[in-house]
């Protein structure tokens, strides 16, 4: 098992204690620090999904794994718009600058998918749903499953934007088919990351459905 898959196994854990323990284990190991640095957004997301606030020791170790590049956050992406406040809340400290601006980049589905999962989505960030659906389908065709799930997250969050019944039927069918397909594919390829991303998709779907129902 690779450290990557170990991380995603921990992230996919159902109960908070195992996640807390997993985070501690990962942050204590010098080797795993690199994994945390690479996947820190996923770690934050997993914590957020479970309503977890890191204890100060864990937060300190976690932040210690991040470099100046991570703390500066990727300029010009959507991460800027939602990560700092969430991260600061999770870590219980003002680590990140919360004053940065957001920007939309076409085809950048990952940050949008993350922002939906964090519950920090701005309507204007959602890409046009037709482009999103077609991109998701193309990514599936190219066997780029992780990116496909991210595009699907955006599509399901934009569900309330496509009001025409026939579009709904076509796109809902696509999302249901794709979810089923990726579900058994994630088992077949034994990918903890894909399983984790599908959990995020399911979360985005719930958020999308709630938004849709409130209109």
């Amino acid at each position: 098992m690779t450290y990557n898959s170990a991380l995603f196994e921990v992230l996919g854990a159902e109960d908070s204690p195992s996640l807390r323990e997993g985070l501690k284990r990962l942050s204590e190991s010098t080797f795993d620090r690199a994994v945390i640095a690479e996947h820190w957004i996923e770690v934050l997301l997993a914590c957020h999904m479970q309503g977890l606030v890191m204890d100060p020791d864990c937060a300190e170790r976690f932040v210690g794994a991040l470099t100046a590049r991570h703390l500066g956050i990727c300029t010009g992406t959507l991460y800027e718009a939602f990560l700092p406040n969430i991260a600061n809340r999770l870590l219980g400290a003002q680590i990140f600058d919360e004053t940065v601006e957001q920007a939309y980049e076409h085809g950048a589905y990952t940050p949008i998918a993350r922002s939906i999962a964090f519950g920090c989505i701005d309507e204007n960030w959602l890409p046009p749903f037709l482009i999103c659906a077609r991109d998701a389908c193309r990514l599936l065709q190219k066997v780029e499953y992780i990116s496909a799930v991210h595009a699907m997250c955006c599509l399901v969050a934009a569900r309330h934007k496509y009001t025409e019944t026939l579009y709904r039927e076509t796109l809902d069918t696509f999302l249901a088919d794709a979810r089923k397909y990726l579900g058994w594919s994630s088992v077949a390829v034994e990918s903890p990351q894909l399983k984790f991303e599908l959990k995020i998709y399911d979360l985005c779907k719930l958020i999308g459905a709630a938004k849709d129902g409130s209109r």
Binding site: I131, R134, T170, F174, A178
Partner: protein, 302 residues
Amino acid sequence: MIYANLSEQQKTGVDRAKALFLSWIAGNRAQFSFRSEEHPIRQLSLLKPFAEFVLCNDLLLSYGARDSRLKANLYWAWEEIDQGDYLLTLLLARPDIFRVASVYAPLHRHGYRCAKLDEALQSISAMRSTLGAECQAWMRLCFLHSSAEIFGTEYDPSVVPETWLGLKPEPWCINDEIAYSLTHEVFYATDFGRSKCKFSNDILQYLRVWVPMWTRSYIEEKNWDLTAEMIMVAKCIGEVEWDQDVIAELLESQLSNGAVSGPAGSGGLLRQGARSTSEEEFLSDYHTTLVSAMAIWLAHND
């Protein structure tokens, strides 16, 4: 985008492409002849490019092309099949290849008639061997479409329910073979864009969502053959929202002699019997060139 709304530069590009296509079609007419081949099996193989040549000339006229060479090409084709006698002889020997009705249907539309061939096709269409022939759904639809033209009956795709589009499958599972079946299902259901589509609204919506995505993939692969077919499909069903200028992409692929290169491996079996490099090249590119011409005219026939 309709022709009238194009910029002057775009109009010039489209007009130039159309002129090149017409020259290529007329200039390569002799290469579509299958009668110069002695072996009957080879003749049968070459009937495919010939049938597509006939269809292309018929459609360009339907799409508003004003060029006397197109009508001359149809007359030449009628003579090439001995005013229908060649097809009659063929069907008497091989009633199982009833799909050759598609060679006759476009000529029939332009007034070329052979009473004996009509009678033979009528009889063959009622044979149990025809009704029970195990062939791909689109081939059966092709025969139904040709029969509708020849006998004046109404084309009804619902009698062949086991099609890909009928199930609206997972769109990422398409492959080239399925794509050709799908495009032809649409062509027959709309009489190649000449009549209102006979599909239900849910199938039309499915196509409107996914045709641009499939087209994008074919453009990326430089598969101009399926790109052109998808452009035709979009025009046949209407109301397709494109994410890119597909016509411009297709126009750029046209060579200075008017041809459009076929995808890798195209015309494979046909090329095996080619007698020269130029014939091999022709057999590789002819289909893509014809379908590109049809796509450009259909897209800009206003």
